[in-house]
């Protein structure tokens, strides 16, 4: 709900309704707001029926890949005699993304409830919430919420008095972007270095501790509760465009914009109106130049592309990018695209786990070349070299961190070639100095 700004009347606040409401953080406050009714309902249903409702709702993973959640849940075979696990991915480290942080620090019980519903639906008794170590505030509130839920008998060996066992544990990460990749998260949870695993086997077959595992993003799990309460049709109807994108989506907005914050809109909302009306447009005296709409791993959009976008999975693809994690990075005309991209490349170089040669070497070389172009020491051939490295880094590694590093570089050269050339030819980048009144 535009947090930390006032909610905008064109938002549809389902998940973000209680941001800023300190009472919603406690069990008593959460129950007063209708909390744990969805879990009660879920525990009275057959797990397969829950999976069907979620399937029917069209909910897709909010962690980046957009995989249909109900289908993912249906991969967990009931009655295979093995312990099942649910992992909640709260590693949120994709530059531009900070929605899960708000969800956890304002509505921690919503996540406890979402984890319990998800665990029950996939036949798991244990859910681990893997939260990045830097999130001290979300960690604190999640710890509190879990403790309260155990004390109230919502969690534990007799969850809500149903005789069913549901445990939820908070697990603190220790600083590594790669641990947001699902198999790296599992390695890390097992007490290992966060190196992604080769797939197959997929997590539903052999995940954490070698057992069938489902992994979902914070926002995905939290969305399950209102879907169960209000029905699949209610959720499906919240879409202004493509029927394959349903429900509401949180977008965290940052960079050069008047009102950065976390906004919730229905799928298919016009991006132009979102950027100018909800978020207030560019800073005073400046103009938008480019947008990275789904976290640092998705292609950069020109302003024209962004303004023509409808905000859903298909809409962002149609305009040269992806919805990704919903982390919207807005860049204005005072910034050098080369600097922005060089710093992103450095991010990926720092975060590469180093297992795959293409990624370990590719991210480091990309950074070196990008930085020399930024510093006015590049050559025209450097751009071809970057494109060539980018190709070698794409589709060839265990996980897609490598591809993610190539994405801003390749899309940047394609869409902002002039800025690269200007720096290479010794024409210093002249930012449009804001006409600040």
């Amino acid at each position: 709900m535009g947090y930390p700004n006032q909610p905008h009347q064109r938002e549809t606040t389902v998940l973000s309704r209680y941001f800023g409401d300190t009472e919603a953080r406690t069990l008593a406050g959460w129950k007063k707001r209708g909390g744990y009714k969805a879990l009660e309902k879920a525990l009275g249903m057959a797990p397969a029926d829950i999976v069907n409702v979620v399937k029917e709702s069209g909910l897709r993973g909010r962690g980046g890949a957009g995989f249909p959640t109900g289908i993912k849940w249906s991969f967990m075979k009931p009655g295979d005699g093995k312990p099942h696990y649910l992992c909640c991915n709260a590693d949120e480290s994709e530059p531009g993304t900070f929605k899960d942080r708000e969800l956890m620090r304002w509505t921690p019980h919503a996540l406890v409830e979402g984890c319990a519903i998800g665990a029950y639906a996939i036949g798991a008794e244990t859910a681990y919430v893997y939260i990045r170590g830097e999130f001290t505030e979300p960690l604190y509130w999640m710890d509190q919420a879990v403790k309260e839920a155990y004390a109230a008998g919502i969690l534990g060996k007799n969850a809500m008095g149903t005789g069913k066992r549901i445990d939820v544990h908070v697990h603190k990460g220790a600083g590594a972007y790669i641990c947001g990749e699902e198999t790296a998260l599992m390695e890390s949870l097992e007490g290992r270095r966060g190196n992604p695993r080769i797939k197959p086997p997929f997590p539903a077959v052999s995940g954490v501790f070698g057992m069938p595992t489902t992994i979902n993003n914070v926002e995905t799990l939290i969305a399950a509760a209102p879907i169960l309460m209000n029905g699949a049709d209610w959720y499906k109807k919240m879409s202004l465009s493509n029927p394959k994108s349903t429900g509401t989506k949180l977008f965290s907005v940052c960079g050069n914009i008047q009102r950065p914050g976390t906004y919730e809109v229905v799928m298919g909302f016009p991006f132009k109106e979102f950027l100018y009306d909800l978020c207030g447009g560019p800073p005073h005296g400046r103009k938008f130049k480019a947008v990275i709409p789904g976290g640092a791993s998705v292609p950069i959009q020109t302003l024209e592309e962004a303004e023509a976008t409808l905000m859903d999975y298909e809409g962002f693809v149609a305009q040269g990018s992806m919805l990704g994690s919903g982390g919207v990075i807005v860049i204005d005309d005072a910034q050098s695209m080369v600097s922005v991209i060089a710093r992103l490349a450095r991010f990926f170089a720092h975060e590469s786990c180093g297992q795959c040669t293409q990624c370990r070497e590719g991210t480091a070389w990309t950074t070196k070349i990008m930085e020399r172009i930024r510093d006015g020491e590049g050559t025209i051939e450097d751009m071809d070299t970057l494109l060539d490295i980018g190709e070698q880094m794409t589709g060839k590694t265990i996980c897609v961190l490598s591809d993610s590093c190539a994405v801003p570089v390749v899309s940047g050269i394609k869409k902002f070639r002039g800025e690269f050339e200007a720096l290479i030819q010794g024409r210093r980048f002249h930012p449009v100095i804001a006409a600040v009144a």
């Binding site: 900070f98 170590g133 600083g175 097992e190 290992r192 270095r193 965290s252 940052c254 600097s339």
Partner: protein, 182 residues
């Protein structure tokens, strides 16, 4: 100013490292702390899974994770010290050397970068007297490092001081922020 690509961002503070090395090692996991670990072990089907939490406890108690700390954890979890060290070195948040009383982390990834994070870093280095990234100020109080996205990009520039997360820091706010710590 820009750290080298290879290797971590923290440069060792050898002087205090040596001081610490000469004090006899007292185990971390005794009494209540041992009971805390025992409770943690019930949450996972393997002992190894308690490794990251156990290392967090060591750091909470000692403010860094020493070689002796790693050996103690290895013994308790039936792992080898080399294995534990391999894990410790993978993650950026475990301090392998003593750090200043106030360990300050500043995000400089692009979304914060385009909102002026570099100026926040400069102000912090100047006002803490740390001088250079990764070094500790002469009075032993401050260590400043640059980190990657802290997941609070809409609150540029986020700064972490030990466990405290501070949003929307600007160069102008730095003197007050530091004065509050004193």
């Amino acid at each position: 100013m820009t750290p080298d690509l290879v290797g971590g961002l923290e440069s060792p503070d050898y002087a205090s490292h040596d001081r610490a090395a000469h004090e006899p090692y007292a185990p971390v996991f005794t009494g209540d702390v041992k009971r805390e670990l025992d409770e943690l072990l019930t949450r996972y089907p393997t002992k190894m899974a308690a490794l990251l939490p156990a290392l967090w406890i060591v750091q909470r108690e000692r403010r860094w994770v020493s070689e002796e700390g790693m050996v103690e954890v290895a013994d308790l979890l039936e792992l080898t010290p080399a294995y534990v060290k391999g894990v410790v070195t993978f993650y950026t948040m475990y301090h392998q050397h003593p750090v200043g009383k106030y360990f300050i982390q500043v995000c400089t990834t692009s979304p914060c970068g385009i909102c002026g994070a570099d100026d926040v870093v400069k102000a912090l280095l100047r006002h803490t007297n740390a001088g250079e990234l990764g070094l500790t100020s002469p009075d032993g109080r401050f260590t400043v490092i640059e980190v990657e996205c802290l997941g609070a990009c809409g609150f540029a520039t986020p700064v972490m001081v030990n466990e405290e997360f501070i949003e929307s820091v600007t160069p102008e706010k730095v003197p007050d922020l530091l004065a509050r710590l004193a």
